[in-house]
Amino acid sequence: MGAVKKIAVLSVQGAFAEQEKRIEDLGAECIEIRQKADLMQDFDGMILPGGESTVQGKLLTELGMLEPLRDRIRSGLPVLGTCAGLILLAGELGGGEHGWLGTLPVRVRRNAYGRQLGSFHVREVFQGIGRIPMTFIRAPYVESVTEGVEILATVDNRIVAVRYANQIGIAFHPELDEDESIHKMFLSICL
């Protein structure tokens, strides 16, 4: 057994506690990132949780975390973005909205399934894992990808999970379902 992995969870707003619980259940350690000083610590991977992307993006900007985080992702920090996290990572947002970190070369459409009445739960195939539960809450999807982006899952012909080198972006909420396989897969790339 190697050393215990340390995962940073962006904790400015949203469902970060659920991510922490999952990561700790899998035997890794968590630290919460609420301000710039928290980013100066050592960690092996980072999770950008669900929540409201406009709030999280604004707080990242105001708290001076956008640039240092972008630099760390560009230099290879493994990162898992779920729902709002996928939106933060996206290089481009549909509908003329501006992006935030912009490190993942895909175009993402926010609130792509409409309002809360459009939220849904399905079981679909995730590349390399198999059929797993997927919970979409006022979710985005990926409208288009550029070369080099691997598509990990689709639901009704919409792209809902992608990987690009060290970055995994997922439109749904694996932290809300009991299946742990996505977090296990993510921990396996956090070296």
Partner: protein, 291 residues
């Protein structure tokens, strides 16, 4: 509401955690709130302070006004209906509101029955001033709870009282023997399964926000340190001198609620806070509506 839909509705509340939900009365205010970092807005015709000042019967807002706000922002939009007024709730569901607040801020439409919230597909948030109220609302189908506080006063004392009371009642239940839970369920007038959940998990089965009287970044951080999972700010923002700056400061205060140095900075130079009324000075206690 199917069980799956109820779970999805509880999960939307989970996504709002660590955030601030702001009362807005126009699309312009909604945009200011969104830009300041609100995680959702509550669309209503008059903010509680003005409802209090105007008196009279206060009802669900004009759907056209709510739709204007839905079009103005990309974050979730909530709206209030009167306690027990299930037709107002049906109307709000028809315009695809993201969350309905069955709220004591409006005049109650029914002095006995709350809405059967399980009959709806959209989620409901309800106010509570103690654990019994919270669990009764959850049993009726609420997928999120907030303290009642005393809306429109700018006085946080009642939100504090309600949050502390709920916490101490939860703590008391977690320390009970299993055979005592049956009597507790009877006392609280709620199903055994809900009391058992609180006993086993030490928390409500849904997300719990603070609301009512929050006016400053320090108020918001106080409620977070007392265990709230997020904060509603009603009159406190758009009744203040500099709504934009105050709103943004409250958002940051909720994120870094334990960092007193940052809270000090955030509290600086915010302009005039809403005037506020002490609880002894008010004739109408909205928190007493709907138990």
């Amino acid at each position: 509401m199917s069980e799956e839909r109820y779970v999805l509705n509880k999960q939307l509340a989970q996504m709002l955690k660590g955030g601030v939900i702001m009362d807005v009365t126009t699309p312009q205010q909604a945009q200011i709130a969104q830009e300041a970092g609100a995680c959702a807005v509550m669309a209503l015709e008059r903010i509680p302070a003005d409802i209090r000042a105007a008196g009279g019967v206060s009802r669900m807002s004009d759907p056209k006004m709510i739709k204007g706000i839905q079009e103005a922002v990309s974050i979730p939009v909530m709206a209030k209906c009167r306690i027990g007024h299930f037709v107002e709730a049906q109307i709000l569901e028809a315009i695809e509101i993201d969350y309905i607040d069955e709220s004591e801020v409006l005049s109650p439409a029914d002095d006995v029955y709350h809405i059967d919230k399980r009959a709806f597909r959209v989620p409901f948030v309800c106010g509570a001033k103690d654990l019994g109220e919270a669990l009764r609302r959850i049993n009726e189908g609420a997928s999120m709870i907030r303290t009642k506080g005393e809306p429109g006063t700018g006085d946080v004392v009642q939100a504090v009282r309600h949050m502390r009371r709920m916490n101490s009642e939860i703590a008391r239940i977690t320390s009970m023997r299993t055979d005592e839970l049956y009597e507790e369920a009877k006392q609280l007038s709620v199903p055994f399964a809900l009391v058992e959940y609180v006993h086993d998990n030490g928390r409500l089965p849904v997300v719990n926000f603070a609301a009512g009287g929050v006016a400053t970044p320090a108020d918001a951080a106080l409620m977070m340190q007392l265990g709230a999972e997020g904060v509603f700010v009603g009159s406190g923002i758009f009744k203040s001198g500099n709504p934009k700056k105050r709103a943004a400061a409250i958002v940051q205060a909720v994120t870094n609620y334990q960092d007193s140095r940052m809270l000090a900075e955030l509290s600086e130079d915010l302009g005039e806070a809403m005037v506020g009324i002490n609880e002894q000075e008010i004739a109408l206690l909205m928190a007493e509506r709907g138990v």
